[in-house]
Amino acid sequence: MSTALFALALLYPLALTGALALSGTASPRRAAAARRLLVRCAPPAAVPFVLLTLLPSAGGAQPPALALPWMLFGTSWELDGLARPLVLAGALLYGAALAATAWPRPAPEEGAGSAGLTAFLLVSLVGNMGVCTAADAVTFYLCFALMSFAAYGLVVHHRTREARRAGRVYLVLAVASETALLAALLLVVSAGGVRLADAPAAVAGSEHLHWIVGLLLAGFGVKAGTLPLHVWLPLAHPAAPAAASAVLSGAMVKAGIVGWLRFLPLGEVALEGWGTALVLLALAGAFLAVPVGDLQRDPKVVLAYSTISQMGFLASVVGVALAVPELAEACAGAAVVYSVHHGFAKGALFLGVPVWKHFGSARTAPLVVVGMAGAALAVAGAPLSSGAVGKYAAKHAVEGVTVLGADLTQLLPLVATGSTLLLLRFGVLLARADLGPGHRPDAELWAWLLVVATGIAVPWSLTRRWVPSADLPGLELVTLWDASWPILLGLVIGAAWWALSAREALPSWAAHPDGRAVSPGDLVVPEEALLRRARRWAAGTQERGARSRAAAAEAARRLRPGPRELDAARSAVRAVHSWSGSGAVLLALVALVVLALAVAP
């Protein structure tokens, strides 16, 4: 029964996408009607995945799995402990995103465009869920590629110039990560890790261990937005439609973490060097994202930097697991819980941006404000929120680990402070944004509310039941205070900042940040300049090459016999062929032959 459900879950969205594509061949009028119908029944695509995770798997029953031995090199999926929570969170988020784009009565201004958006969302749903549940390396790569290239469709959906530039940057990094991953997976498979279950052990034992770990960190680092490879995130999120960026930040970014948890030899071998490097990079990303994020003008870019910061937090946990094998089990559990929490909270915030624009002014305003505030507090890790669960599990997992002398458990809370600052900036920007005409409450609102509600309830329940290694924060005073002092610190700094800027004491770029000081995608700007100069240089060498070839051709033409030489040759030939000429040649030849014969024995 579970295999059939699994097959249905994977096939239904793909069938819908196929139908959407083929509907294009019908006559325009019928095609539009068919497309509207298909888009209508897109959101339920997430339901089978949710049901799959809720199947009673008590009593060691075989976890739901699907194997197709005839496809590619034998593809197989399996919903194991690690995948279950992530699939649930991802499926709910995708469901909400699809509902937000598909069901609202007055189709938003994109009109026909929503079919393309829905199709790409469906494909990335399959890809994302496939990545989480893949049971062997080839399937993992297949789903990862599917998800990455579908995401490109989401990023360039609006076809504006910025969208196309964001798409280009995203594509370059995605292709680079695909290539690095392919190399890593090939090395893993050749070391014997075809099935993911025994991949970490195979990697630990392989003689290319350092090559594999390096490639994995780079390949998945692009997706997880760790420091040098994060540049696509702040460009992609503003360009993509809100629902798409919710899914991008909420679910797709987590694929990087899943990849690390699946393939890295956590708990098999202690990799001091790699672990520490990852932790340092992650923390640097987490802390540097805050100032850059605060200087932006577009709320979605601020959220993007908040994602980079949160993913930094997650990456540090994985880094610890890499460095200290004993803590691997706990860190993995904590990473999963934190991913689930971040998925819901960040998804709610991203979906909230258009919701605030459409429903911020009408009767539903207070509901939206409360929802957004709740999600923001969750991201910051306020007590009793899903954030608290995630942060507590993470802090508890990395107990007693020091990096470069600083105790990790002291550093992590500061990330919460940074998030608070970012979210304050986000709140201010939203407040200042002008609101559109009030809409009557429709699917977009209910979808957002669904995400906010599940965001609060689901992390608590699934941590207790599905992730045994992570433990829940109790209600004692000390844990409450641990969760809340970073937020208070953030508020104090925010207030001080606000006061100073009100009295013009700060320099103008700090007081009224407008995104010009550090443009979104920070490192990418110098990289693009470098690329343009390289392309100009290449064009230069090509043009110089063409000029030198033309000169060579000119010289060759002069060398070739001109008409004068040809006539001389022709008359020479005529002379040799004349009667007396050929006679003379014959006589000479006969003389030679006679001489040779006379001499020869």
């Binding site: 005529r574 062929h577 004349s578 009667w579 007396s580 003379a584 014959l586 006589l587």
Partner: protein, 104 residues
Amino acid sequence: MSTLEWYLWVAAALLGLACVRLLLARDPLVRLIAINVAGSGSLLVLVALAARTDPPDPVLHALVLTGIVITVAFTGVGLVLLRRAEEAAEAPGEDGAAGNGEGP
């Protein structure tokens, strides 16, 4: 050196000189005459060879007769062609690409 060898060397010299003259001559008429001289040179060789036995070998004499017949036939045809070739060379307008045999 017996008279037989003497005649053989004379015949060979005659044949050789006639051939050289034939090959190097530019004027076709000179070549035609050279052919006849070469022909007679070759026939003298045959006669000399025949004379080695007494009575002289009839087969070689038959060869000599045939040689004479062929040389005369060719000389006749050659003269007719020579005349026609000169007429053709004088008559303008012929696209005498091959000219009088001097073409490449």
